[in-house]
Symmetry: C2
């Protein structure tokens, strides 16, 4: 295709207007992160000739830089090896309660029913997991343990709803100190190697711009750009979009999840929402565009031992839960404002675990509540009121207000240390294109768009509101595989 | 057009596939509520031949059933007649602070700058306003006063941000007792009469289904259905969609604002989101689909005199603010759970205003906090803790936690009455198609879709998060006018 047009648009190109194809394959996959790699493996195994187009200079996407959690359960080999019982039903119940409101229950059902097999598939592809459980509070294990609670399953209110099981499955990292082979890298490397061994081709430094559509509305290819030259890529069976979220498209963030403006996290610049807009240009439906993963930047070993209060000095959540639940709470419901209040005993006990990386310095320390209230901008007596109420129940080891587990409940005494956690959140959007359980992209009419498939964070997956660590690599890999299978099986009429 | 197809789809029809046109006009408007009527008036004044297609048997839409508030300011004749100063800048500042996050500031600027003239336009069209101010808390005036605070402008935190001015402009109702000529009706009747006087035609019982598009992507008409027969309607200059929100499309509500599931309010069944999906089928962008107006169903005269607490027994807002702010807070941030706690003095004082319609019966009454905590499902001492803290400051007439105005702050004493406000919310979505300040529908590419205009609640207007009573009739009428002007001015190439 000649390289003439200068500005890039998401408006589709008519198939008949493409003069020549620069590349051709049965299945063309845009994006070589976890969803793209999983799609590539399955499409190739189904006998398709597969080409992956990647915007950057190498494979990996956001996945390779991530901690690497994959949310799995229902009794995986790793869960069983670590001595945990889990069932598909319990996993479904938890996910529908914790990942909503508005979950795609059909998608969650499929995900849970296929979860044990999906773990085995990852292991078979060469992803390493160490059979060890890490039971401390935290965003990640201290070492290279393979299993951890990553969604608040063992905290109120979920622990009383359904039997808890840890479902954060973490590939075993190598050389943790340099960070060069973290869990995400150790997930991606074997997947890409598997794809390569199956003959999957990849072209790098290619920016996907728009889709090619024939007269019947069927997607037949992709228009892309490399070093300023425009390319046309023919997909004989189907196109799979796996290009990540819209975390770095400021306009889309403003329009769909404005709380996240200026605080993208766990995302890469390539996450520009383009895949979503390319699909929308064909009439695709989007869903839960306001949902977001939100991290609260503080060590969870500290948090579990203190109390979190908002800008009115009130507690608002159980401090022993998953940090992403606290992050969402702080950003969406507490005005992005929080303070962590600890006493000396709690602080020293957290530091003594040695999983607190440094010895974090509190913002304020004082024996005087009045002085702290003044520093924190709280009304007089607000902190005293909260602590008196908390301590009154803590004396008996209970937290009837938020249900913190007795092991973390202790009266706060003596001088207090306060960490200022205002503006301490970041995250990425969870919404995107609406897809079927077979990863077909749905038109707003309710029908799939022929030849178009998508997976990963450019789609709405198993989370519509809440989140657990591992949900994105989880649904990206799970529904990425299905996208590859569906695209490879797609009937190809002569054009 | 022959009547053959049985199922209705939002997929557009090709212009060349339309065999014959059942109706033709320069400007075709779908929906005869406030946005459609305003568009009709302006399109007709601009010299266009105008046809309105209405789904029900008569004009009015949700507007005719509404209280009738129109959010206006910047120094309208009514504001001045009632002795209030307001400026365009103050109005902008308030709206950007209260209606976000993520407001369309260009839209708000245009709205504020045109607000005084828009009021005059309504008056000139025959909409009656009585020059009287109602200053009590409440959703609507007790009588037929024309002006009221309708967005929390005079409550914390906004009163300290910008000089407050009341901006809820209410058409003077007739025969309030029967409710037959409420403010919304008194707004719609003169607008429709004005349209009719200008030669606007209307066809009723017509369900709009999809758009007609020519080979260049220009919208040239509408496919609709009447009594099972399909119709084609030619729009020589432009189509204006003014078909209301998606409050009654359960699937869309689940996917975009699941908190609203099962609680549609201030909406009509015709609000099925179809206009939004018709636009999306052409690649239109949507925005702020998760935003919603939310009413809390309780008398504001009671609320201002009590304290609202959540399911942990904590206060969460200033009780003297706009009920819609409280409604959003309760539904989105307090688990749709709240209790109103009053003492006898507050209760009797509210009832004595006679604006409390009946003598509402509290759910529980007791002198014992412990008994109430038990009834309300609160932790022991939770209510006592909250009241002690509140009273401590109330003794000096202050509320440093939430900023309630001194006139409403008084210690709670003696026996308490509690109103159970769990599941006491309802509302409608505020998100929709993304439009320009000239009411052009925007494609996800950023370009307007030729020949397609929209206004009212099928678009995202001046609210992206917060709300004030009058914002929907306000932006519906204001940008409805612009839709009519734009459509009438649209160049018409020969097809």
């Amino acid at each position: 295709m000649e390289a003439t047009v200068s500005d890039s648009t998401v408006v589709p190109t008519a198939h008949d207007d493409v003069i020549s194809w620069d590349y051709q394959a049965d299945v063309v996959i845009a994006g070589y992160g976890v969803a793209g790699a999983s799609a590539a493996v399955e499409a190739a195994r189904a006998g398709a000739d597969v080409l992956v187009l990647e915007r950057s200079g190498g494979w990996g996407g956001a996945a390779a830089m991530a901690g690497g959690f994959i949310y799995l359960g229902g009794g995986t080999a790793l869960q069983r090896a670590c001595g945990f019982e889990d069932t598909v039903d319990n996993m479904k119940t938890f996910m529908k309660a914790a990942f909503g409101p508005g979950t795609d229950d059909e998608k969650i059902d499929a995900y849970c029913e296929g979860s044990v097999a999906h773990y085995d598939w990852l292991v078979e592809a060469g992803v390493p997991f160490r059979e060890a459980f890490y039971g401390e509070p935290g965003w990640e294990p201290r070492g290279d343990e393979g299993l951890m609670y990553s969604g608040g399953e063992n905290a109120a209110p979920f622990k009383d709803l359904v039997a808890p099981a840890p479902r954060g499955h973490l590939p075993q990292m190598e050389n943790k100190k340099t960070g060069e082979r973290g869990g995400g890298y150790m997930l991606m490397k074997p997947l890409v190697e598997t794809a390569e061994s199956l003959g999957v081709r990849a072209e790098y430094d290619i920016r996907v711009e728009s889709l090619v559509v024939d007269g019947d509305g069927r997607v037949t290819g992709i228009i892309a750009k490399r070093y300023g030259s425009r390319l046309a890529v023919r997909a004989r069976r189907g196109v799979v979009l796996a290009m990540g979220s819209f975390a770095f498209d400021e306009e889309m963030v403003r329009e769909h999840v404005p709380h996240l403006l200026g605080r993208p996290g766990s995302a890469i610049e390539a996450h520009d929402g383009r895949a979503i807009r390319m699909c929308q240009a064909l009439g695709a439906a989007t869903t839960h565009m306001n949902a977001a993963e939100v991290a609260l930047h503080v060590d969870m070993q500290l948090v579990a031992r203190g109390i979190l209060v908002n800008s009115s000095g009130q507690r608002f959540a159980t401090e022993d839960t998953y940090g992403g639940i606290l992050g969402q709470e702080v950003l969406f419901r507490q005005g992005n404002s929080a303070f962590l209040v600890m006493d000396e005993n709690g602080y020293e006990s957290a530091v003594a675990t040695r999983s607190v990386m440094a010895r974090p310095q509190p913002t304020w320390v004082s024996e005087s509540h009045a002085e702290l209230e003044n520093s924190m901008g709280l009304p007089p007596y607000a902190l005293t009121t909260t602590i008196d109420f908390y301590n009154r129940h803590a004396l008996t080891g209970s937290d009837p207000a938020f249900g913190k587990k007795p092991e973390w409940v202790r009266p706060l005494e003596g001088p207090l240390a306060v960490f200022d956690l205002r503006n301490s959140t970041s995250g990425f959007p969870l919404g995107g294109v609406k897809t079927t359980v077979d990863s077909e992209v749905l038109h707003v009419s309710g029908e799939p768009i022929a030849g178009l498939f998508a997976a990963g964070r450019c789609t709405s997956g198993i989370c519509s509101g809440g989140y657990a660590s591992g949900a994105s690599l989880g649904d990206g890999s799970f529904f990425g595989r299905r996208a590859g299978i569906s695209a490879a099986a797609n009937e190809t009429p002569a054009v």
